[in-house]
């Protein structure tokens, strides 16, 4: 269940960053996967290391997520079964030591979802919840041997 065509699964776009108070105006359209607002077009680099140590460095659009970046570039080891809804834990990555502080800690909901991942470590994150930004230019993450 992987491959470039998986991008078609982006069903509830960005439906996951915060639990939206449904129907409330204020809740509106929370934390969408940054298709608006951010400097569209700005590009950074993300490096994906696989479990065997092979590195793939790709361009990433500011405002998109690390998971989307992986799918667009057919990075093996990111399944993203739920299409970015923070609902499946099949886009689990390990953030490289020197990036953990900048990337930050998972939210409560992401922590809950990490319970469905295997070999969870202190630097574990779900890549659908990491937003590409200029501060994260050069980010390095490692994909686990198996997403489960």
């Amino acid at each position: 269940m992987s491959g470039p065509r998986r991008t078609a699964l982006f069903r509830p776009p960005g439906a996951c960053f915060k639990k939206a108070p449904l129907g409330s105006e204020a809740g509106g359209f929370p934390g969408a996967i940054g298709r608006s607002g951010d400097a569209l077009g700005a590009m950074t680099k993300v490096t994906f290391m696989d479990a065997k140590g092979e590195a793939r460095t790709v361009d990433a659009q500011v405002g998109s997520t690390v998971m989307e970046t992986a799918l667009r570039n057919s990075i093996p080891g990111i399944e993203a079964e739920c299409g970015g809804a923070c609902a499946c834990a099949t886009c689990h990555v390990y953030v490289a030591e020197d990036w953990t502080e900048k990337v930050g800690k998972p939210s409560q909901m992401e922590e809950d979802m990490l319970d469905f991942a295997f070999e969870v470590r202190p630097n574990s994150r779900l890549s659908c919840q990491i937003k590409v930004s200029e501060e994260l230019d050069g980010l390095v993450v490692t994909t686990p041997a198996r997403q489960g």
């Binding site: 078609a8 509830p12 449904l22 319970d115």
Partner: protein, 345 residues
């Protein structure tokens, strides 16, 4: 041997598109039986993101997965579909001809449905338990390692380790506690997604010395002849210990696998079922594929596309179910005939 259920249309998958198929088929007088491996209707909407908002359902600027499912259930209610939940379709046999198709559908629970039309609305395949990537674990499955509890008696007097922090893990820790000789719950952190009352009940048993809770992750298993003797556990401190046990129940949620669909004799392309775009029929006349499971030039995996596919598939299905009846296209807004079927006229 159960009796064979005879119906017009069997639908594999009770996700949004399977449910809406009931509506479109119902307007054309076809009766449906739906089969789904989950214990509730709604598919991914209900299982993966019930509380999360969907923004691209026409007419709903925002709707949660569960609300969409609830609305669809209300919408198809007039047509009285029959649900076979918690069952996986294993075999599909073709008994008819290309002009007069007839299918016999068998589930893992022993249900047999015979239908003139089969609609595969199976989404990403069937939801199946996630298996921890522990080397050699398969050898113990269904003897000493279980992903669901079918017979509680199996665990009587045994040392049972339950892994996970959700409702399944906590519910089974509590339910098996009176039966097993010892329950050990293993979770990677001291926080649980499960219902607070279950967590409190578990904590009370642990405080009372009646149950063990260990913070850590299982990294390997030991045993012989399909029988576990111990788990290798990496504790939070990094220390590795052997935890003697007889059975392990890992609860890491569900993942989607294509499952037995691959064995039904349909053409497949990268685990998807190719269809035409006029009626969404597969390589087998009388078998249709709608929603995320199908593929055709320009396919988008959107719920709204699945709804469209269901409507067109129903038109063709009518031809197989009522070969001698002419189908006249009607609108629900103006047709008293359709309104009578919907119970509104």
């Amino acid at each position: 041997m159960n009796d064979v259920i005879s119906t017009d249309v069997a639908i594999v998958g009770a996700g949004p598109v399977g449910l809406f198929s009931v509506f479109e088929l119902g307007l054309l007088d076809m009766k449906c039986h739906l089969i789904d491996i989950l214990s509730k209707p709604g598919g991914q909407c209900a299982e993966l993101y019930p509380e999360k908002p969907i923004y691209d359902i026409p007419g709903y600027p925002i709707i949660s997965g569960q609300d969409l499912v609830d609305n669809l259930m209300k919408q198809i209610h007039p047509f009285g579909p029959t649900f076979h939940l918690g069952e996986m379709v294993e075999q599909v046999e073709s008994l008819g001809t290309a002009d007069r198709p007839l299918f016999r559908v068998g589930t893992d629970a022993g249900t047999t449905v015979e239908s003139k039309v089969l609609i595969v609305a199976a989404g990403g395949g069937s939801f199946q338990p996630k298996k921890p990537p522990i080397p050699g674990l398969e050898a113990y499955e269904n003897a000493s390692v279980f992903y669901s509890v079918r017979k509680m008696e199996h665990f009587r007097g045994r040392r049972v380790v339950i892994v996970g922090g959700g409702d399944s893990a906590l519910d089974w820790a509590l339910n098996l506690h009176p039966i097993a000789s010892r329950i050990t719950l293993i979770h990677r952190r001291d926080a649980f997604r499960a219902a607070p009352h279950s967590v409190n009940a578990m904590r009370a048993l642990v405080a009372d010395g009646q149950m063990d809770f260990v913070l850590g992750q299982v990294t390997a298993v030991k045993g012989e002849a399909r029988q576990l003797t111990a788990l290798v556990l990496r504790k939070e401190s990094g220390e590795t210990i052997d935890l003697p046990c007889d059975d392990m129940l890992p609860f890491f949620g569900l993942t989607m696998k294509l499952g037995p669909i691959a064995d039904w004799g349909l053409n497949l392309h990268e685990n998807l079922i190719p269809t035409d775009t006029e009626k969404f029929e597969t390589s087998t006349p009388g078998i249709f594929a709608v929603g995320d499971i199908n593929t055709y030039p320009g396919k988008l995996k959107l719920i709204l596309c699945g709804f469209h596919e269901a409507a067109l598939a129903a038109q063709r299905a009518h031809h197989y179910v009522f070969p001698d009846k002419k189908l006249v296209f009607q609108y629900t807004t103006s047709s008293t005939n359709l309104q009578r079927k919907l119970g509104v006229s």
